[in-house]
Symmetry: C2
């Protein structure tokens, strides 16, 4: 079958012909229709991910149809929970945890075999591209924004980096939860699009003084994956006793962190990554309840996967980059 | 009356003769027997505190006897809640909040007049020095260790900087709450004393590799007021989903903060300062229940106050530095 594997070549991402996976006990074989890229795929491409196994099929997200396995799932359109061995603690993943697509073979392939308990019915209001875009980004956004960030009516919530796949869903989740939702972006067009999606406003983080305007509003919750020196701006605009939920650090680490402001304002910096299996189910219920549709940036054919990765690398996308088979 | 005031002299802390305070409506006049120093007093001395009002009587802590005011309080031995205008939100102080002793006249004086609702009966098991040592440090330690840090049986709790007035109480509170309590210090003798107080062990933070041994234990909660680059060590030794409660930043700000480790371990950095009026009452109940006695480093006479401040500045103390009148 066709699959996107990670190699030691100068271009590590390669389309290859690999054996179709064997279907283990308690597993279902899913014929993948659409997969989606995540930042971790690009990190793996750049060699910036721990424990890279060459030859591994990449990809954490997919929508497909069950071809083999449990009778009750056969022929069903499904999406796949990307958690591998989350474990028993709802608060934190176990030490055996990994994300589908490294080191376990992932979704950028014509077929994948996964334990039956990883399957969820595809939400009916989503097309294949939207459904494939949901799992990893939805889980990350749900835990960070709703479960940790407690976005709710009357709360001011800021989602930074408006174009990302996770932040797009975080914005929709916060809006659906009734929060006054604001965004940051380096691109005024993206801010405009977010306002059309229900955001109350936005700030251009390339403007050095953006935080002054934002501080007038004051945020109960800030959801961020950039990190870096903007973290001190977040401490200036978060309300007393407010929460800064961090699910990434794409711009690196802050050179200083204003600990005085942190403790004097009784603020919290909350680390969040992925989410529990229960949160995955809750996320899908939430998406169904509010008929949320992930934003699709662009659809590529599997033969154009390197182009799709390059699009991701440019970081100019707005929503999810997906791969059709 | 004698009072310790902050001046613009080369030695800002001066013993002065000032008028006895007038007793306002709803206030009680307390004849102070013993007061105590806090780090903020030294900060004010160093000009490192916002909004310094010269001529202000310093001091946030005291034990004394009510001489005038509400009949039911007259003659009672009391301690004083150092919160001024905490406000209605239990999570965070109001914008009108200040700590007794700047800008409002404080406890380093023969008399102070305070609103009656600031008074609490002196815990019976404490002598005057111990009672004077309790309020600010006890409130700070209680919120950070018990309310935010959730020290409890089965939890591993690390209190850093074992010699400080707050950390001494934090250690006692964590031990009383049943937590497996560890400490850090730069002085092995102080670690030994903490083990005598019920700590399970300690680490010398001057040893560059101290965190390696500590990481074998793994901490549910770390309570710290040092900040600085040790924060990245805390992220290495905190358990997954653990809490780092920061109530100070005496060694400055971290040069980098390992945000990756923060989010991947689902850890939290929680700012905490002082505590609500309700927490002040809960803290005193807790101190009474477990018969906790603040550690006294040294008692100075009010005439030796500059010496007492110098002792504080050297940061070699173990427990509270108190001032007798």
């Amino acid at each position: 079958m066709k699959a996107i594997v990670i190699t030691e070549d100068s271009e590590p991402v390669q389309l290859a012909d690999v054996p179709q996976p064997e279907v283990g006990d308690g597993e279902c074989l899913v014929k993948i229709e659409v997969a989606a890229l995540n930042r971790r795929d690009q990190w793996i491409r750049e060699g910036m991910y721990p424990g890279i196994r060459f030859g591994c099929v990449l990809g954490s997200d997919a929508c497909g149809v069950v071809e083999e396995g449990a009778e009750e799932w056969k022929g069903k359109e499904v999406i796949i929970n990307p958690n591998v061995n989350w474990g028993d603690d709802p608060e934190v993943q176990s030490s055996e945890y990994s994300v589908l697509g490294m080191p376990k073979n992932g979704t950028l392939a014509e077929y994948i075999s996964v334990p039956t308990d990883r399957l969820q019915l595809k939400p009916e209001h989503l097309n294949n591209e939207e459904a494939a875009a949901l799992p990893l980004a939805g889980l990350t956004a749900f835990r960070a924004t709703i479960k940790k960030g407690l976005a709710a009516p009357g709360k001011n919530v800021l989602i930074t980096g408006a174009g990302g796949g996770v932040s797009q869903l975080a914005i929709q989740f916060a809006v659906a939860a009734g929060a006054n939702t604001y965004v940051t972006s380096g691109d005024p067009d993206k801010i405009g699009k977010c306002i059309q999606m229900g955001a109350a406003g936005g700030f251009n983080y390339k403007d050095e003084d953006w935080f002054k305007e934002a501080s007038v509003i004051g945020f109960d919750t800030i959801v961020d994956s950039a990190g870096g020196n903007q973290m001190n701006n977040y401490l200036k605009i978060v309300k007393p006793a407010g929460k800064i939920v961090m699910y990434g650090s794409t711009t690196g680490y802050p050179e200083k962190l204003d600990v005085f402001r942190l403790f004097w304002s009784q603020a919290q910096i909350i680390g969040s990554t992925m989410g529990s299996d229960l949160e995955f189910e809750e996320m899908i219920q939430f998406v169904n309840k509010y008929q949320i549709k992930p934003t699709i940036d662009k659809v590529y054919n599997v033969n154009e996967t390197v182009k799709a990765f390059d699009r991701f690398k440019e970081a100019d996308h707005f929503g999810k980059i997906v791969i059709g088979f």
